[in-house]
Each structure stands twice: as C-alpha cells, then as structure tokens.
Amino acid sequence: MSQTITEKILAAHSGRKNVYPGQLIEAKVDMTLANDVTAPLAIEVFYQAGGNKVFNRRKVVMVPDHFVPNKDIAAAEQCRLMRLFAREQKLTNFFDLGEMGIEHALLPEKGLVLPGDLIIGADSHTCTYGALGAFATGVGSTDLGAAMLTGRTWFKVPETIKLVYKGKLKTWVSGKDLILYTIGDLGVDGARYQAMEFCGPAMTTLPMADRFTMANMAIEAGAKNGIFEPDEKTMAYVRERSARAGKIFHSDPEAAYKEIREYDCSKIEPQVAFPHLPENAKPISKVGKVLIDQAVIGSCTNGRLEDLRIAAQVLKGRTVAKTIRLIIIPATPWIYQQAMKEGLLDTFLKAGGIVSAPTCGPCLGGHMGILAKGERAIATTNRNFIGRMGHPGSEVYLASPAITAASAVLGRIGPVEALPTLKKKK
C-alpha cells in the first residue's frame, strides 16, 4: 500500500505496516515538549492522573521561553513550578535561562529532534520539526500531561495536501514569503486537520532555516503538521548536532493525496500579511503606504542565525527611521553568540536597533515590545491576530527578515529595493 511520509511515521510508531486517513491510532511518542505557559497545566494533569514518574526523563522536554526572563511575579511563579518539576523528575532536557532559547529553534539546534521522530508539544508551533522529516504536532496541556506519564497518545491519521514548489526564487524571497503566499492561497483553515507536505525542486534547494520557517507556519493554515522529506541538507544538519541518526521516510510516488497544488516560485514576490489574519498576504508591490512604529525580527518562525544575517545585510551601513523602534531577538544563546562573533549585533546596534535576550516576548504580546493603541508593527513572527502584540487596537503585519529590516529603515512597509543606495566609503 502506497503511503505518504506522514502516514509512514505514524504507522511506524503504532506498530503497524500501514495507516490510512481517518484511522484512529495509539502511537508511541519520541518526545513531549512544554513551555512556561502550558507546562503548569500539564504538570497538574500529570499529578492528578496519579503520575509520580515521567515515562522517560530524557524525552520529557521543558523550555520556559514565553515570558522569560520572568516578566512579572505571576510568570515567575509559573517558571518556578516547571523548575521544581524538572528537578524532582531529574529531566535531562530542561533548559533554563542561559541555556534557554525559543523552544522550536532550540530543540533542533541541540540535536534533540530527528527525521522519523514523532513529537507532541503543548505549543501549536511544534509543527516546526516537520522541516527535519519528523511528525510533530501541537496538543493541549491535558493530552501532553497524559503523554508525559505514558509515553503514548492517540491520533486521527490526517489526509495530506501536497504542495509542489517549482521555479527559481526571486531576490529577497525566502521561505517566509513562500509560506505566507501558500497560506494566502489555502486560507487559515484550508489545511484544517490535514498534513501539509512541502516538496518540489524549489524545496530541494531551500536552506534548512527556511524549511523550519515554512513548517512552523503550517498551523496558520490549520494543519495538523507540516513536513519535508529528509534529504542531504537535512542529514548534514542532523549529523552536526546529534549522535542519533533518526529514520528516513519518503512518500511513495503512488501515495494518495487529498489535493495537490503547484506554485511557480519565480512569480512570487516578497509577501506581507495584513491584519488580522495570516491569510491576508499581499505582494510587496501592492502594499501601498503603511507607516509603522515598530519592527520585530525574531520568534520561532524567523529568529535563526540565517534570518539575522539577512537582516544585517539589509541594515549594514544604514540607520532605522527616527520614528521606528527596531527589536531584534536571537532565538537561542548559540545564535546570539554566533551573531556576536559575526558582527551582526554590532550592525544592529549601529543601525539604531536593540538586541534582546532569547524569548518569545512580543510575538504573543508577552513583553519586550508591546504595542499601544493604534500602533503598527511589522514583524517576522507568525500571527497577526487582534491584540497579538499588545493593545487590541494595534496592528501586526507579517513579513520576512529582509522586508522587516528594510521597513525599519524606510519607516513604512517597503522592499529592500526602495532603500537609498549606500555611498561607497573612500
């Protein structure tokens, strides 16, 4: 029986040869993940269900990243609960301040996620790990708390939408633009309950960082998971970081898909998603005059080293507009350090931006850059819902690191090409 990569991973974890869409299965999980928002509830469930020992102390991962460094007393109390639990259960993979990064950037970087793995996380952007050819999906704290105890959970096998990307990407077009374009095409519930399989020649040449960005936003089309087939790039990424090898699965050529869509990347411009839904994507040429107050470069979507390099490339030798607050958030301590070594932080500070410690921070309106009523931000984050970055009367526009950096200089949303040419130093 021909199967998709998603079906094969689910089959392998439920002791079956095949699974089919709609089938209910119980599956072993390779990892459970929780953060400072969702862990307190999951821990409560764990104890209430009679738990006293997690199923595997290496596989129950916790990262306090949302409101950390503790933004207020309530946030501090939530993190304390996690710390106590991590100590009591002797969790190997509890990453506290200093080691802490944004969970979905941190775990792949630490080599904790591998091709063929099955991962559930009490965070909707857990689908990020699909970039490595893993099945990863977000669940609520109750489902997570139960799996922390048993190492298992149940799933309904999703149907798959195959997305085929062809053609050469235009200058300054990145994975972020492709996924915003795709969400604009599918709609925010266009892949509801389904798997999004990203493939085609343009995906083969796409760097890992961009693949993470695309898989990360599968949830914004309502998907259960987003997934790439592992290739040489995946294996090179994994080899550098993990002693485990993982397991490579490929979709069979005859596998059944709910739908197949093709995109010609050579026709896709940099995209900007207008408030208040990620599906409101427009090409940069059609944005018109949108003045902004703040620009944010970071998050589990676009806070990786490659993203910071692009932002620095745009910002080098330039200054952000007087009216703009530019906030840059390297997603992990390693990224922070690398960015420092490469002189990127220097470029950001000289341009008039600030650099924050790793945190989800403003992406979900937590801290580190909250918007006032009527203010507008352009951000490399993943959601532009009402009130997402602060006051319900504020607005968020989603874009790539290149467009966000360029907009910070322009003071309005605009393309890199609109920036004045730099004078050459004599």
């Binding site: 949302h66 409101f67 977000g138 609520g140 489902d143 519930d189 509801r192 909250i370 009402i386």
Partner: protein, 163 residues
C-alpha cells in the same frame, strides 16, 4: 444534557488570542481567565454574558495557539456550549478535554442571530432557535463524552473512574 441560553454571535476564525489574550496567560486560574474571555472582540462581553449563554460562531473557531486556557476561559465565563460551523483542530480536542460541550452546524452558525434564545440537546444534537422558531441539527454528543463533560473534563473523569 440540555443547554438553554441567549446567543452571543461571532464571525469566522475566532482565534485563541481573542478568546483569551496571551497577556493573561501568566495564570491557569479559571476565574481569572474567565474574567478576560473574548475581551479583545468585545470588552464588555464578560459584563453582559449570563450563566448558560451560548456562543455561536462561523468557521475555524479556536484557531491559533494550543492553549487550554481558551476553553477554560469560555467555561469560566459561564458559557454552556459553543456552536460553530467548524473548529480548529487543537481547540476541538481541548474543548472536550476541558469539559466544554461544542457542536458543529453550518446552518445553525449561518442562521442563528445575536440575542436569540436557544435550546440545545446533547443526546440528539437538536438545536432549537426559540426566537426564530427554527430547528437545526448537529452531531449528537455520545453518552460517554457527556459523562466526561459532566465530570468537568478528562482528568476529573479519569479520577472519578479510579475511585
């Protein structure tokens, strides 16, 4: 189980940030979460809503984050059940796990108006709009799921089973 109450109508894609804004996620206390339910869509919602009232919404209700705080906040605000054209995947599962009854009906979601009086029956999935004198049909909630809801969610239900 039967639910009767007045309708609070919302549109498509009501996301979890609208249901309970992330700025309040530094607690898991239902009372505190309930106090801010739907605040960014309607700041006075919590002042106007009465115990037993029903939320009716369009497509993809509960999209966005995996936070269980969303169904917790809706329940704590006094809402007896939610009717929508469709639900986001994680929210759907979280709602039952938290003991919040939810129903799917495109017709009901389209035709029911703000302020209508409804009577909803879990056993049959019948939705009666007493204001408009119309009837709609949703998938019934099976008996074991109703038990789970009555107990207050999955964990409370499991605990009861153990005793």
């Amino acid at each position: 189980m039967k639910f009767s109450g007045r309708v609070w109508k919302f549109g498509d894609h009501v996301d979890t940030d609208v249901i309970i804004p992330a700025r309040y996620l530094t607690t898991s206390d239902p009372k505190e979460l309930g106090r801010h339910c739907m605040e960014d869509a309607d700041p006075d919602f919590i002042k106007k809503v009465k115990p037993g009232d029903i939320i009716v919404a369009g497509r993809n209700f509960g999209s966005g984050s995996s936070r269980e705080h969303a169904p917790i906040a809706i329940k704590a605000a006094g809402i007896s059940c939610v009717i929508a054209e469709s639900y986001a995947r994680i929210f759907y599962r979280n709602a039952f796990n938290m003991g919040l009854p939810i129903f799917e009906s495109a017709e009901a979601a389209a035709q029911i108006n703000q302020g209508d009086q409804l009577l909803v029956e879990a056993d049959t999935g019948n939705i009666e709009d007493r204001t408009q004198k119309k009837r709609f049909k949703a998938e019934p909630i099976p008996a074991f799921m109703q038990e789970l809801i009555k107990d207050g969610g999955l964990v409370a239900h499991l605990k009861k089973g153990q005793v």
